[in-house]
Amino acid sequence: MSRDETYAKVMEIIGRYAKNKDALEGASEDTNILEDLKVNSARLVDVILDFEDEFDIEVADEDADAVNTVGDAVSLIEAKLG
């Protein structure tokens, strides 16, 4: 899977929980998931679980804690996919 494909799938997953649909339209790898897209912190757990299910990876809690931007999530998943 290319980075662009991973990015598209990450955005699709985050989009399920994002409250700011306008920010979602204009998002990039630098977009902050909690602050810009208004995903609440409890929903971030759902996002991580969806990453695990849909990319078939395991994300440790410490790795999940380091995810702030969309790009952080893409890089984490790319690293897990190898």
């Binding site: 609440n40 912190s41 409890a42 929903r43 757990v45 991580i48 679980l49 809690d61 999940a64």
Partner: protein, 153 residues
């Protein structure tokens, strides 16, 4: 601090919600994966005066709160204590975060309900449970997927 498996009575004792907003009388069983509890809605509860005059029915939001107190708060107390001990429970407060709910019956004043919930996931301080509420005659009143998260007090 080492973990401890609390008894049902100890979990009930640690439940922070109190009168007039406690909707759990008794915890029948609790384990890592499942909890069962009961509550009788008092016939003289204040909300029946307005919901509805002359035709009292327990509000759906109150049924949902009852399910949340059992399936998220009480089960969460058990899980936190099991991982980190009783003191860890006392340092945290569980807040309701999200739910999907279907109502399929009504609860009249004075009726007793049984709530059974099983853990769907417990990750990073967030607990999601699948739960059902039944009347004593077996009628399904409400089913829900309900989540909450612990925050520091």
């Amino acid at each position: 601090m080492s973990g401890v498996a609390l008894s049902p009575a100890e979990v009930l004792d640690l439940l922070p919600q109190q009168e007039p907003f406690r909707f759990v009388d008794e915890i029948v069983e609790v384990s890592e994966s499942r909890i069962v509890a009961r509550y009788t809605f008092p016939a003289d509860a204040d909300f029946y005066r307005g919901h509805f005059p002359g035709n009292p029915v327990t509000p759906g939001v109150i049924l949902l709160e009852c399910i949340a107190q059992v399936g998220v708060v009480a089960l969460g107390i058990y899980l936190v204590a099991l991982e980190a001990g009783r003191e860890a429970v006392e340092r945290r407060l569980a807040l309701f975060s999200d739910a999907e709910v279907d109502f399929s019956g009504i609860v009249k004043p004075g009726e007793r309900v049984t709530v059974s919930a099983h853990r769907t996931f417990w990750r990073r301080g967030k607990l999601r449970s699948g739960a059902e509420m039944h009347l004593d005659d077996g009628t399904l009143v409400c089913s829900a997927i309900i989540s909450g998260m612990g925050v520091s007090r």
